[in-house]
């Protein structure tokens, strides 16, 4: 090892390998990613965020929200449930007898398939419902785990690394009320008791009401948190953009690599 050039060359090779694995490789695999079809639907996913929400991502970035919030829901796996849709005409009593003996919830995909086959063989009709499992899913933070597609059109991608606050990947579905989001930003403890979030009062203006009339976008406060009489709190355009972004965060469509059965109609359409 007397030769500095040998060291340099070999270390160069190591860094080059690392670069190929973690920069070039992912770019080749994902750099050309396109929209993907939504399962059981003719829609594609994702759509671009609407203009105000896209601007809101920049407010999210500028204020360093990702220092406390992640945008990545995780799941352990899936659980299947076999639901009898029709007992059929051939032998309805036999089918319902069979169904009462079978385990129909909390199944793996293979078990669900077997149960479904048995019901079909007996003459009934069954549907298999898939749902994601895991702590994040139980907390209601999402219907499925986050996938690369969720971030296709975002810049910068704000995955975050620490959960000082809850995950936000699906917050637009979980908490769709714009007034709630505004209140939460202005005075977090007015909506969530014991929240550790600092308030973002600088994104709002406290103004005197004109002729005692509230502005249309003034916040509706719960009891005990109202501003002084005759005053109102209105969001700045930054706050509106940020809330538009938060409401646009809903990763709630089933995809090939993250399937689940939609029980209530959810939509791929951007938030209003």
């Amino acid at each position: 090892m007397k030769n500095g050039f040998v060291i340099f060359l070999a270390a160069f090779g190591v860094v080059l390998t690392s670069w190929c694995a973690f920069v070039l490789g992912p770019q080749l695999q994902l750099g050309g990613a396109k929209q993907v079809p939504v399962l059981n639907s003719s829609d594609v996913y994702p759509l671009n965020r609407p203009g105000e929400a896209a601007q809101g991502l920049q407010i999210y970035r500028a204020n360093g929200c990702a220092a406390c919030h992640t945008e990545q829901v995780q799941q352990d796996g899936v659980a299947c449930e076999v639901v009898l849709t029709s007992a059929g005409k051939r032998n309805p009593a036999g089918v319902s007898n069979l169904v009462s003996t079978l385990k129909l919830t909390g199944l793996t995909e293979l078990e669900a398939e077997a149960a479904s086959d048995k019901i079909t063989a007996a003459g009934g009709k069954a549907e298999t419902h898939i749902s994601a499992t895991g702590v994040d899913i139980s907390r209601g933070w999402g219907l499925r785990h986050s996938v690369a597609e969720d971030f296709l059109y975002d810049y910068p991608v704000q995955l975050g690394s620490v959960r000082v606050g809850p995950d936000l990947a699906d917050v637009g579905r979980r908490l769709p009320d714009a007034n709630w989001q505004m209140l939460h930003l202005y005075a977090p403890r007015s909506t969530v008791t014991g929240s550790a979030m600092p308030p973002f009062r600088y994104l709002f203006e406290t103004k005197k009401k004109v002729n005692g009339e509230s502005s249309p976008d003034a916040l509706n406060f719960p009891k005990g948190f109202e501003p002084a009489a005759g005053y109102e709190v209105v969001p700045t355009s930054d706050a509106k953009k940020l809330v538009a972004y938060l409401l646009s965060l809903h990763a709630d469509v089933p995809l090939y690599d993250a399937p689940f059965t939609q029980l209530s109609a959810s939509t791929n359409a951007p938030a209003k």
Partner: protein, 473 residues
């Protein structure tokens, strides 16, 4: 090498080192003030709502970057410059270039930090500095790295020491990863989660690998020097070097991230393999130091570098622990990660640099520190601070993880459970601030004393009567 040669080599590094270390000390203090303010958010969240500059989302990234870019990198580069000059037995030539580069670097940090505060952050962890700041940093680093390499290639002693391998690799690692990250996720961003993957790759290579290379490069220079015997052994060091860069450079993507599954798997695998270099490095440290003729540990340079060395082993063990599936699942998204990062950046790297700087600066400048007794106090404060900070966040992180992984525990309870631990970590930050202030005090008084001595010399030269030979008849 005669004593005069050594003195000449030390003196040749004087001005670049004063600029690099002086600015670094200032950023160190600024960073710990910001970290402390950010940490106070958890104890009095309502106080920080009226101005964007004082919110956690601005303060915390700024504090992290002030520590990494403001202190760690310039301090590391200064120590590397000096070690190259000493090992190669060649004085640093053209010192004006590193002096200018050091100023550019600190200007870049200033631009970057102001950028974060006015909301111009790029939004990627460890890469928050906006373009203007990062361009200055890149250019300044190139100049400093080039000067170190020129000194290296002109060395009088043609041998390569273990410190050389570590420092040279670190020197070219930074421009590579920094340009890749800035071009591909700031300048001409790639699509979707590839941004996050590159940001993770960059963050790991800078925060873990770069600091490990420079910190160990310095430790492998100083530990034998203080112990009075050679590094044991050359081949262990060679083995540790190769395994460290191979496994250390190919990781960073966390488990469960919404990216192709092979990336987190490869990352975890390489993190686990880090156990190989860590064991080798621990053996080197043990065999070199234990039983040597080193001075008694009284809070001086030797003591700091030994502490930093142990902190490196612990920090790497935390990395390895996080890569174990059972532990990683528990500690993901908790304060555990922040504890590991701080142990790496402060416990290992900064404290190793303190030890090196306390040794180098008096030799380079030519006089002793103004308050030598405070060096020991500083070391105690830094040790207490970092132990409090890391221990509380590691334990707290595990507690938080247990609550986060239990769906029957409300999310707010996981936050509340952290409060006592955050109180302890804030106290730790207070000790770190004190340590940093004491460090800066010694560095600044030395700079002032040096400037004063230069001013006096200039004054004496101006007022001194001309020599007879120069007076024309």
């Amino acid at each position: 090498m005669t004593v005069n040669d050594t003195k000449q080599i030390d003196a040749s590094c004087r001005v670049p080192l004063l600029v690099l270390f002086g600015g670094a000390a200032a950023w160190l203090v600024a960073g710990s003030v910001m970290a402390l303010l950010a940490s106070l958010t958890f104890h009095m969240p309502d106080k920080f709502g009226d101005c964007s500059w004082v919110t956690y989302g601005h303060l915390q990234p700024a504090a992290d970057d002030a520590l990494l870019y403001g202190f760690c990198i310039p301090a590391g580069l200064g120590v590397a410059l000096w070690i190259f000059a000493r090992l190669g037995q060649v004085p640093l030539r053209g010192a004006i270039v590193p002096v200018v580069a050091a100023h550019l670097w600190h200007l870049g940090v200033l631009v970057g930090l102001v950028g974060i505060f006015i909301g111009d952050s790029t939004g990627f962890q460890w890469l928050e500095f906006p373009r203007g700041g990062s361009a200055l940093l890149f250019f300044a680093y190139l100049l400093l790295g080039l000067w170190a390499m020129m000194n290296f290639s002109g060395r009088r002693d043609s041998g390569m020491f273990p410190s050389h391998w570590f420092l040279i690799t670190a020197l070219f690692l930074f421009p590579w990863i920094y340009s890749t990250a800035n071009i591909l996720i700031v300048g001409w961003p790639v699509r979707g989660v590839v941004q996050a993957i590159i940001a993770w790759w960059f963050g790991n290579n800078l925060v873990f690998l770069w600091t490990s290379l420079v910190g160990l490069g310095a430790a492998f220079y100083f530990l034998p020097k203080f112990s009075g015997r050679p590094l044991r052994s050359y081949y262990y060091a060679l083995f540790a070097f190769w395994t460290l860069i191979i496994f250390g450079s190919m990781r960073g993507v966390p488990v469960g991230a919404p990216v192709p599954a092979w990336l987190p798997v490869l990352s975890s695998l390489n993190s686990l393999m880090l156990v190989i270099p860590v064991v080798a490095i621990a053996i080197i440290g043990w065999k070199t130091v234990v039983g040597g003729t080193g001075p008694e540990c009284k809070g001086g340079s030797f003591c700091m570098i030994k502490f930093g060395f142990v902190a490196f082993i612990l920090s790497a063990l935390l990395v390895i622990a996080q890569a174990c599936p059972q532990i990683g699942r528990l500690t993901q998204f908790t304060w555990f990660g922040a504890a590991q990062t701080q142990l790496q950046l402060y416990g290992f790297f900064a404290i190793t640099m303190f030890g090196a700087i306390y040794y180098i600066l008096p030799r380079a400048v030519g006089f002793e520190f103004r308050y030598p007794k405070l060096i020991r106090v500083q070391h105690w404060c830094a040790m207490i601070g970092i132990i409090l900070f890391v221990a509380s966040l590691v334990i707290g992180g595990v507690m938080q993880g247990l609550k986060l992984q239990d769906p029957n525990v409300a999310f707010n309870d996981s936050t509340k459970a952290m409060l006592p631990f955050l109180r302890a970590s804030t106290t730790g930050l207070l000790f770190l601030l004190l340590a940093n202030l004491l460090f800066a005090l010694n560095i600044f008084t030395m700079i002032i004393a040096w400037k004063w001595s230069v001013a006096k010399a200039v004054f004496a030269f101006v007022v001194s009567p001309l020599a007879k030979s120069e007076v024309k008849a």
